[in-house]
């Protein structure tokens, strides 16, 4: 078994309810891996199994090359940050951060030194004597991280640690977490339902649905090469639009066409189309690949009926329709532009995604 964290043939059922039918996952040492998926997809359960808070039904888990499947959390050399922070309300910040060390019987001067070092790293020094209730949400969050940092564990586990923070704080904590990973260079497994957190922080993303891993890859991979419609629509914001379509060939040109649109395929995609025969497909169009005007040969016109346009500064989000299907487009028009309305827009055909209509698998 390699180092890092390895889950092998892991199955988890709560009574008759199957939560994770089968899971194989290998996280390299020092890697920042994000498990992402909608609620109920089994990502938190997976993390809790790594932590040892849930027992696996079948399979094995190894951490740092050691089989820990049946070991208790304290023997696994892990630290965990909870969504609710789970700070001990009756202990001050220093007490919260040092609790694990005190239990482990580390001597006092070392405890003090390690708490100080973590507090400096997380800018918590002025608050060491305070109780959790006297701290703001962001500070509590940092204490929760401090509690993990002090441990200097082999593997850090994060269970949606930012979801109780407001949007602005969340963005800055994302940066702090990335910095923390750089500084500590520890293996980190992070669970979230927020694809932005996944995209911004992860070395690799694991996208889960119904207890099954859909795709594992770098943020670039999952954005550019989603393996199925679920991954395609889950990653990216606003979400990718999927339209029913078929292939149409005229000579050596191949297009994807459906109700109200026809987009010629560039060379790179044509090969895939040829392999697909005359299957019914779904075409995936990301909002950010629409444009207000043609920006080159690869741009093809598409008529949109605009229901609502949302002004968000230098671009606008259009909730629109192509024939009877809903489409979302993000058009960059500059901050002075008037609200956009019905008309011809352009789509960058290099960015077309194609999926099998039945299975949802990428072509």
């Amino acid at each position: 078994m390699g180092a890092g964290v390895v889950l092998r043939d892991v199955v988890k059922a709560f009574g008759d309810v199957m939560v994770i039918p089968e899971l194989n996952l290998s996280v390299d040492e020092g890697e920042f891996v994000v498990l992402v998926g909608p609620s109920g997809c089994g990502k938190s359960t997976t993390l809790r199994m790594v932590a040892g808070l849930e027992k696996v039904t079948e399979g094995s888990i190894s951490i740092a090359g050691r089989d820990v499947t049946w070991e208790r959390p304290k023997q696994r050399d892990i630290a965990m940050v909870f969504q609710s922070y789970a700070l001990y309300p009756h202990m001050n910040v220093a007490g919260n951060m040092s609790f694990a060390l005190r239990l482990a019987g580390v001597n006092k001067s070392e405890i003090q030194e390690r708490v100080m070092r973590a507090a400096e790293m997380l800018e918590l020094v002025p608050y060491l004597e305070r109780k959790p209730r006297d701290l703001s949400g962001g500070q509590r969050q940092r204490v929760a991280m401090g509690r993990a940092v002090v441990r200097d564990a082999y593997c850090f586990l994060f269970d949606e640690p930012l979801s109780n923070l407001d949007a602005k704080l969340r963005a800055s904590m994302r940066t702090e977490l990335s910095l923390l990973h750089q500084k500590l260079a520890r293996t980190m497994i992070y669970v979230t339902h927020d694809q932005i957190e996944a995209m911004t922080m992860a070395d690799r993303i694991v996208i889960m649905k119904d207890g099954l891993v859909q795709q594992v890859g770098t943020p670039k991979d999952v954005y550019n090469e989603p393996v199925n419609t679920f991954v395609a629509t889950f990653i990216g914001s606003p979400s990718m639009t999927l339209l029913d379509a078929t292939f149409e060939s005229e000579g050596d040109r191949v297009s994807v066409a459906g109700q109200g649109f026809k987009l010629p395929l560039p060379d790179r995609l044509r090969a895939r189309a040829n392999g697909a025969g005359d299957r019914k497909i779904k075409v995936g169009l990301r909002p950010e690949h629409f444009a207000g005007e043609s920006l080159g040969d690869t741009f093809a016109p598409i008529d949109l009926t605009v229901k609502v346009s949302e002004y968000i500064g230098s671009s606008q989000f259009l909730a629109a329709r192509v024939a009877d299907a809903d489409v979302i487009a993000a058009i960059e028009v500059g901050p002075e532009a008037d609200l956009l309305s019905d008309g011809t827009y352009y789509f960058d055909t290099r960015r077309i995604y194609m999926f099998d209509q039945e299975t949802g698998e990428a072509l």
């Binding site: 808070l53 959390p73 304290k74 965990m80 909870f82 609790f99 959790p132």
Partner: protein, 276 residues
């Protein structure tokens, strides 16, 4: 402004009235305990102006009866019943709060039903049970009975307190390397002080004050204070002064206990604030 002032007057009048209603009997008790037999039996009851005497206290403490034995009995019974109730009740409440099984809420609430049974109803079966078990005339009998009476309420109350403590706190402690006992004593207990204090006050009070069962199940040497007080209802007459002196003394320990426990309630409340 004016409205506020008027409201304050109403408010305080109501409070003073309520305080008087509550305190009047206590004052009657204390006043009577300080009167001699003649003044007590006098045709016009004197509320405030009489010559106080400690004669009644003298009789109780150094005269007839064995006040020190009765006091010890009461203390032993009340303290052990409280200790037993809190430890057993705490474990039950924790189990109910943390283990998910069908009907646990019903079970937690059903325990309250038991509390609605007045002790008098229990008197006959309790008497039979205790006598057959051969622990009559033994303080253990009272201790166990009071524990049984108080347990349902203690479980129900502590169940509520335990439910408020998020499970993540325990999980965090487990990940931090705490053993189950460490989780209990270093994380849960500090947050449960209010709950245990409240349950403790109720249990102690019941065990301390209970009369009917104590009257039935105690003998010469195992009498508790309330039973001893009733000893002054003699065939020659009711010795009000002595009964009231006894009453006054009986009130003191639970009062002290309550003050001590109430401090823990406040300590627990400030330790709490689990959520942000």
């Amino acid at each position: 402004m004016k409205n506020d002032a008027v409201r304050q007057i109403y408010y305080y009048t109501a409070l003073i009235l309520l305080a008087c209603i509550s305190l009047a009997p206590i004052w009657v008790m204390i006043a009577t305990s300080l009167k001699d037999e003649v003044t007590v039996q006098g045709a016009t009851p004197l509320w405030f102006f009489f010559v106080p005497t400690l004669e009644n206290y003298q009789t109780i403490l150094f005269g007839r009866g064995k006040f020190d034995t009765y006091l010890m009995n009461s203390i032993i019974v009340a303290v052990s019943a409280t200790f037993l109730t809190l430890s057993l009740g705490g474990f039950c409440a924790y189990a109910l709060a943390r283990n998910r099984f069908a009907g646990r809420h019903f079970l937690a609430n059903a325990t309250l039903l038991v509390r609605m049974v007045p002790p008098a109803v229990l008197a006959v079966p309790a008497f039979a049970f205790v006598t057959l078990s051969g622990i009559d005339n033994d303080l253990a009998a009272l201790t166990f009975l009071y524990t049984a009476i108080s347990l349902p309420f203690a479980i129900w109350l502590l169940f509520g307190f335990y439910k408020q403590i998020p499970i993540e706190l325990e999980e965090a402690a487990v990940v931090d390397g705490a053993t189950p006992l460490q989780v209990f004593f270093r994380v849960l207990m500090p947050l449960m002080t209010s709950g245990y204090a409240v349950a403790g006050i109720f249990t102690f009070r019941i065990a301390w004050n209970e009369f009917i069962l104590a009257l039935l199940l105690t003998g010469r040497n195992t009498r508790t204070l309330p039973v001893a007080a009733a000893g002054f209802l003699t065939e020659e007459g009711v010795e009000w002064g002595r009964i009231m002196a006894m009453g006054t003394l009986i009130v003191i320990p639970p009062l002290l206990f309550t003050f001590f426990a109430a401090k823990q309630i406040i300590a627990g409340m400030t330790a709490g604030a689990v959520k942000g």
